[in-house]
C-alpha cells in the first residue's frame, strides 16, 4: 500500500500542502488582527469628534440588527402600512432610471450622491 504513497511523493505533497494552508490562513489572521488596531484607532478618533462619528458608522440596518426596536402602536402601524404600500406599488418605479412626471425616482444605476439624490432601492 505504501509504495504508491512513496511513488507519488505523497507525504511531501501533504506536508507542503498543509504548510501552505497554514501560512495562508496565518497571514490572513495577522491581517485581520491588524484591523483591531485600525478599529481602535478609528474609535479613538471617533471619540474625539463625538457626535459625528457614530452617525457615520452605524448604518440604519445595523441599528435594526442590534436592537430590533419595532414600534408597536397604531400610529406606527399606519405609517408602516403606507410605506409598504408605496414600496410595493412603486417598486417598479424605484428602479427606473428616469422620471415620471414630477416623481423623482433614481435607480442606483450609475448613481453618485453628489447632487443630493437618495439611493433608489432603499433596502
Amino acid at each position: 500500500m505504501l509504495e504508491n504513497v512513496v511513488a507519488n511523493n505523497g507525504l511531501n505533497t501533504a506536508f507542503s500542502g498543509m504548510t501552505i494552508v497554514f501560512s495562508g490562513l496565518v497571514i490572513i489572521a495577522l491581517a485581520i488582527h491588524s484591523f483591531n488596531y485600525i478599529s481602535a484607532f478609528v474609535k479613538k478618533r471617533g471619540e474625539a469628534n463625538t457626535a459625528a462619528g457614530p452617525a457615520g458608522e452605524t448604518t440604519p440596518a445595523l441599528a435594526f440588527m442590534g436592537k430590533d426596536l419595532v414600534p408597536e402602536d397604531e400610529l406606527v402601524a399606519i405609517s408602516v402600512a403606507i410605506e409598504l404600500y408605496r414600496r410595493l406599488h412603486f417598486e417598479h418605479l424605484q428602479s427606473e432610471i428616469t422620471f415620471v412626471h414630477g416623481e423623482l425616482t433614481n435607480s442606483g444605476w450609475k448613481t453618485g450622491i453628489k447632487y443630493g439624490q437618495r439611493r433608489s432601492i432603499p433596502r
Partner: protein, 374 residues
Amino acid sequence: MHVIFKIVGTTGFANMQWGNLIMIAVGGVAIFLAVVKKYEPLLLLPIGFGVIMGNIPYTPGLPLGVYDEGSVFSLIYKGVTSGLFPPLIFLGIGALTDFSSLISSPKSVLLGAAAQIGIFGTYIGALMLGFSNAESASIGIIGGADGPTSIFLSSQLAPQLLGPIAIAAYSYMALVPVIQPPLMKLLTTEKERKIRMKPPRIVTRQERVLFPIIVAIFAALIAPGALSLVGMLMLGNLLKESGVTDRLAKSAGSALLDICTILLSFAVGCSTQSAVFLNAKSLGIFALGLLSFMVATVGGLLFAKLMNLFLKEKINPLIGAAGVSAVPDSARVVQHFALHYDKDNHLLMHAMAPNVAGVIGSAIAAGVFIAIFR
C-alpha cells in the same frame, strides 16, 4: 523538498512584478471611488475587484486568468468578447428606462445626436495617434459615454483594447461631474443658464408602447449594425411599457441585468493584466477618452445654442451637455448647475430627453462603425 519548491514557485510572491502592484493599486482606487465616493459603484466595484484578481500573478500554464483557454474566468470573459453581455445589459436597462421625457420633446433628440461629434472627433484623433481604423472607432466610442456600447464595439472591432477602453469609459462616466461644469461655464452666458422651459406634456400609454417599436425599426434600418444594442434596449422597454409583460420586464431589469453586470464588470477588470494593460496604447486611450467626453459636451452645448437661433421657444443650452448620455449623471449635473443660477429652475426632466437620446445616438454610431469596419 522538491514539492515545496514547486509549490512556492507557484505562489504569487514568486511571480509578482511591478506592473501587478501598480494595477492592484489601481483596482484599490476604483474600489475606493466606488465605496467611499459612491462613483458608479455598481460597475466600479466589481471592475476594481476584478483588476486586483486579474493581477495576482501565477505560474504561466495554470488555467486561471481570462486569457487562459479553459479557465473559469475565460468562460465568463467569453460572455464579454462574444458581445453577448452588453445587449443583455441593454435589455435590462431598457426595462428600467422611462423615455417619456424624450417622447414629449422630440426636438431634444437632436441634442443627443450632436453630442456624438465626440465619438467621430476622437476617432480622427485616434487615427492621428497611429491607431488603426477599427481601434480608432473603438476608442472614439468612449465619448458615447455608454459602457455596454463601448464594450460591445470593442469586442467586435478591437478586442485587444477592450480592457483599457472599458476602464476609460467607466472612469470618465464617473468623473462627468468634474469634466462637464467647467465647459458649461465657458460656453454659456449667465442669461442662457437661467432660461426656463415649459413643463413637458403628459404622454399617453399608446405613445410609450409605440415608441420602442418605432425607434428600433428606424435605428436598425438606418444602421443595421445597431440592431443588437438598440433592438435589445427597445425590447426591454417594450416589455416594460406594454403593461402585459410586467413579470418579464421585472426579471430582465433585476436578475438578468444584475448577473450580467457582475460578470461583465468583473471579467473586464480581470482582463487588465499588467502585461497587456500597462503600455503606451492604454495611456493614449485614456487621453483620447477624456478628449472624447469634452468634445461631446461641447458639441451638445453649441448645438443647443445653434438651435436657439431658429426656435421661438428657446431651450436652455445647458441641456445640450446631457446629450453625452452617461445616464443619468450628466442630466443631474445640468440640474445642479442650473440651480446654482436660478434656485427654482429645475432642468432635470428636460435634460433627461437628450440624455436618453444620447444612448440611442451612440448605439447608432456604433452600428455605423460595425457596418464599415467589419
